[in-house]
């Protein structure tokens, strides 16, 4: 591997050490429309140097539009976008994409079929009118870095999907952008290749201390790559934070489901204060469980109906012999998946999913058992949200 000088970035001065450095990207109250339809409705986002931030959400949630606003490919309707302290977009300003010192990896790759691998990667450097020798050196260095040394003279159409993906990465990185934007870059690859490229992007980002904004609807990518995840819904950021925080303490059902399967169980707050707890209302006289004190909005009020957000792997199954506290359930389906086993159970009118790493011997559909709290999960308390009125 060769060292890449990320100190000098397209002539954009890097903040001095003694001052508080301006974040690489600062998005404030971003609003954007497609036609007359608002698709981004007030998103805030800050990315520091070397950070990997992921925008996660289903299609149509505004994540790609947010990314395109940052790139300068879509004009914002309101709010501001600053890159390295310079405002590049607000309601009255629009700095064109070629002047923002960002680069982008497109979902469709967008490789130019009429150029070779070298031509594609060298394109941005030629635009900077660098000496030919420097262009050649930097392109070769970059191709080496992405594992495509010697591929320069080939036409891009002759490459496999994974190789094309590497060319796109090389093209995006070779101009040394302040910020690299990635728009679902792995969605065009097959499962195995996707996992491998994910690991490679991760390694590259850590090694070169790259600042990246990554858009995906794949929770595995979001969880594994990010320093910070932004979950978007209908153009509004639901929660921003490190992946484990979002996974363990989602502020609502949407965030919880965005990051993994979750049981949503109706409950009623029985204790407020510093050690709040709630009683499950799935069955009469259901068990009382501790709930997380930290949640969005006001603290829980005794008597208030809420919904608990319980991950399937936070629960364990005990024999229904009266020796264990928990939820009385009836197993309705057992699915063995190799590295884990999923149990679908019924408790009153509710369906509860439980996931165990090992298959406990002898559990079959029709068994009456007790679903208890996994050790460790209990102390943190269950994530919850106020009951949604739909």
């Amino acid at each position: 591997m060769t060292s890449i000088g990320y100190e000098e970035r397209n002539g954009v001065p890097v903040a001095q050490e003694d001052q508080a450095p301006a974040p690489v990207l600062e998005v404030r109250d971003l609003v954007a429309h497609y036609g007359t339809t608002p698709v981004v409705k007030g998103v805030d986002l800050t990315i520091g140097e070397g950070e990997f931030v992921t925008l996660l959400g289903p299609s149509g949630c505004g994540k790609t539009t947010t990314l395109r606003c940052v790139a300068g490919l879509h004009q914002v309707t309101g709010g501001t976008i600053s890159i390295s302290g310079r405002t590049v977009a607000d309601a009255a300003t629009h700095v064109r994409p070629e002047r923002r010192s960002v680069n982008m990896v497109f979902q469709s790759f967008a490789l130019w079929p009429h150029m070779t691998v070298f031509g594609n990667v060298a394109y941005g450097l030629k635009a900077q009118h660098l000496p030919r020798a420097e262009i050649t050196a930097r392109v070769e260095e970059m191709l080496d870095l992405v594992g495509l040394a010697g591929y320069g003279p080939r036409p891009v159409s002759s490459l496999s999907g994974g190789q094309q993906q590497r060319v796109v990465l090389a093209r995006g990185l070779v101009t040394r952008p302040t910020l690299l934007l990635l728009d679902e870059p792995l969605s065009n690859l097959d499962t195995e290749l996707r996992t491998r490229m994910r690991t490679e992007i991760h390694a590259l980002q850590r090694r070169l201390n790259l600042t990246m904004l990554y858009v995906t609807h794949d929770r595995a990518e979001a969880l594994s790559l990010s320093d910070k995840v932004v979950v978007l819904r209908d153009g509004i950021a639901q929660q921003v934070g490190p992946p484990d925080e979002l996974y363990d303490r989602p502020v609502n059902r949407f965030v919880a489901e965005a990051l993994g399967p979750v049981n949503v169980l109706p409950a009623e707050v029985v204790e407020g204060g510093s050690r709040p707890a709630a009683r499950l209302t799935t069955v009469d006289g259901g068990p009382v469980l501790p709930i997380a004190a930290q949640s969005a909005g006001s603290p829980p009020v005794v008597g208030e109906p809420i919904e608990l957000l319980v991950r399937p792997e936070s629960l364990v199954l005990h024999p229904g012999d009266g020796a264990h506290d928990g939820i009385d359930v009836e197993v309705t389906l057992v699915e063995y998946l190799g590295n884990r086993t999923e149990f679908t159970c019924r408790s009153g009118a509710e369906t509860i999913k439980i996931e165990l790493a090992r298959r406990p011997g002898g559990v079959e559909a029709g068994d009456r058992l007790v679903a208890g709290w996994h050790a460790g999960a209990e102390s943190a308390g269950a994530a919850w949200q106020r009951t949604e009125t739909r």
Binding site: H33, L73, V95, Y123
Partner: protein, 581 residues
């Protein structure tokens, strides 16, 4: 010729974006380009059209300062003989449009869906008529099929066929025949293009549901092709409405004269009446606009069918039985013999003859006659002029069209979409009308009588084809390819040159070849703008057609040779460029 396929504009997601001024939102180069392109398009396209309409009300069509009158307009729009002529002309054009479309659909279906041997040869035979000017074909038929004197009529007489069974080309059916033969290739290109876009699995599904071939064709294929069938009828109809050369040649015996001939005569003959020409031109334009409106109405609900076959497109061909293949081939040969090979042979024979005798022996055929006819200084300079224009006009028209398409489709500047509509207006305007407008507009400028003026006129009718073809090419290029270039630090305008133009090279090449052929063959605008000092091949052939048919044929042969050689050379040039890149 992809000009007729996407009549409905693509929905534009961002056009309805909240309108406001944003600093830096559009680059100054884009704005300058927009202004320049608007000026060019207004002067070349909108100018002549507007002038024709205004001149219809003028006392003196060349000098609008002389005052205005309603005389000509009243005569054209309210008197019975003129209205009768209008109805006849519309009927004439519609019959030609319908017949061309029906024939072309049958030919296109067999090409696209049947796995026949020699498919390329078949297509060449079907499209051959595209390369010959219709009036040259008409000249050939005059020699072949005039009552009493025509070659075919003499032969039929000698075997004792009664005269009512003999062909008479100097008649309205004769005109329809010659024009249909000429326009079938146009319809063929439209329909076969659309047919290739229809997933063959749609037909297979119908066959598997137990429906026969006939039912499938009528109930599945034809409805799916409705838009292109209608556009074929409409646009061939518009072309036929402005066609004057064939009716002038074949209408000598007093057969029906459509309105296009009225325009031509009032522009040219001793009964010159420029105001009348303008008023009739306006009327023809109105008819075309009504046609376009009805076409749009008819297709309002058909757009849902257009998106057929986006992904997983299948183009299976059916292997026909031996007998069916033979029948199809014989039908093709008969068709191409009658419409293309016979008039072509007649043209060559006439060109080599001293004297148009009805027998070969009496014609004194020799190549030197042909050589002498085409090496006169006038014909040679006409050839030079024509070739020069045929190279320059496509180049200029394509450059303008790239600007138009870029502004509307990529830069998405305000008014750029309107620019596209104005630039494609000549599609609904008969060529003769454009010619008349350009002549009236420019006759008093110093440009009159120069080759540049003819060039301007030809560019103005070529832009529309170029915009269509280049536009289709650009639509197929994913915008992310250009966005990627911008993010690499290259401005949008420079990206057009480094990314867009190389990628639409095939469209540019086909637009160039098409416009090369059309420019060489073009008569409507050329005949109006050409003077004795600026001869052109098509105009020379046309002028000879009134006096010496064999010389007209000789120039026709030269024109055909130039078109064929030029097309081959151009394809080689564009092909070589593609290999190099």
């Amino acid at each position: 010729m992809t000009l007729l396929q996407d009549a409905a504009p693509a929905p534009d997601a961002t056009s309805a974006a909240p309108r406001r001024r944003v600093r830096g939102g559009r680059s100054p180069q884009d704005v300058v380009l927009l202004i320049l392109t608007w000026l060019v398009v207004l002067a070349l396209v909108a100018g002549p059209i507007v002038y024709v309409v205004v001149a219809g009300f003028a006392e003196d069509a060349i000098d609008l300062g002389a005052g205005f009158t309603l005389d000509a307009v009243q005569r054209v729009f309210t008197t019975a003989p003129m209205l009768g002529k209008l109805v006849q002309s519309i009927g004439f054009a519609l019959v030609i449009g319908l017949l061309s479309t029906v024939l072309a659909t049958a030919l296109a279906w067999t090409t696209v869906r049947l796995d026949l041997r020699g498919g390329r040869l078949r297509e060449t035979l079907v499209l051959g008529a595209l390369y010959i000017s219709p009036f040259v074909t008409a000249v050939g038929w005059v020699w072949l099929a005039t009552p009493e004197t025509g070659v075919i009529n003499r032969m039929m007489q000698s075997v004792g066929l009664p005269s009512w069974l003999q062909p008479d080309i100097l008649s309205t059916p004769g005109m329809v025949f010659v024009l249909v033969a000429h326009y079938v290739p146009y319809s063929y290109l439209v329909v076969s293009g659309a047919l290739r876009g229809v997933d063959s699995r749609m037909e297979e599904a119908s066959l598997l549901c137990g429906r026969g071939m006939t039912f499938t064709t009528l109930r599945v294929v034809v409805p799916l092709l409705r838009a292109s069938l209608l556009s074929s009828v409409l646009f061939v109809g518009i072309l036929a409405l402005g066609e004057f050369s064939v009716p002038v040649i074949l209408g000598q015996k007093g057969a029906f004269k459509p309105l296009s001939v009225t325009v031509y005569n009032s522009l040219y003959t001793e009964n010159q009446d420029l105001t009348l020409a303008s008023a009739v031109s306006t009327e023809l334009m109105l008819v075309c606009l009504v046609g376009l409106f009805l076409y749009g109405r008819a297709l309002r609900n058909a757009n849902r069918l257009v998106s057929v076959g986006g992904r997983g497109h299948s183009q299976a061909k059916v292997k026909p039985s031996r007998a069916a293949a033979v029948v199809v081939w014989i039908a093709t040969l008969v068709y191409s013999t009658i419409t293309f090979l016979v008039p072509l042979a007649a043209m060559v024979l006439m060109a080599m003859s001293d004297y148009l005798a009805p027998t070969l022996a009496g014609m004194h055929l020799s190549l030197s006659t042909l050589w002498d006819a085409i090496t006169t200084s006038e014909v040679l300079s006409a050839a030079g002029n024509s070739i020069g224009l045929a190279v320059a006009v496509p180049a200029v028209a394509i450059a303008i069209s790239i600007a138009v398409v870029y502004l509307a489709d990529r830069a998405k500047l305000r008014t750029a979409r309107a620019l596209t509509y104005v630039a494609t207006m000549p599609l609904a305007v008969p060529g003769l009308v454009m010619g008349a407008g350009l002549l009236l507009l420019l006759i008093r400028t110093p440009l009159y009588g120069t080759l540049a003026l003819i060039g301007i006129g030809l560019v103005s009718i070529s832009i529309t084809h170029a915009v269509r073809i280049v536009g289709n090419g650009v639509h197929q290029i994913d915008g992310s390819l250009e966005e990627a270039s911008q993010l690499c630090g290259v401005s949008r305008l420079k990206t057009v040159w480094s990314v867009l133009v190389p990628l639409i090279r095939p469209s540019v090449a086909s637009a160039f070849v098409l416009l090369f052929v059309l420019t060489l063959r073009e008569l409507s605008v050329a005949v109006v703008l050409s003077t004795s000092g600026t001869p052109l091949l098509s105009v020379s052939a046309w002028n000879y057609a009134a006096s010496a048919l064999n010389k007209a044929a000789a120039v026709g042969v030269l024109q055909l040779v130039v078109i064929l050689v030029g097309s081959v050379v151009l394809r080689a040039v564009f092909g070589a460029g593609r290999r190099k890149s």
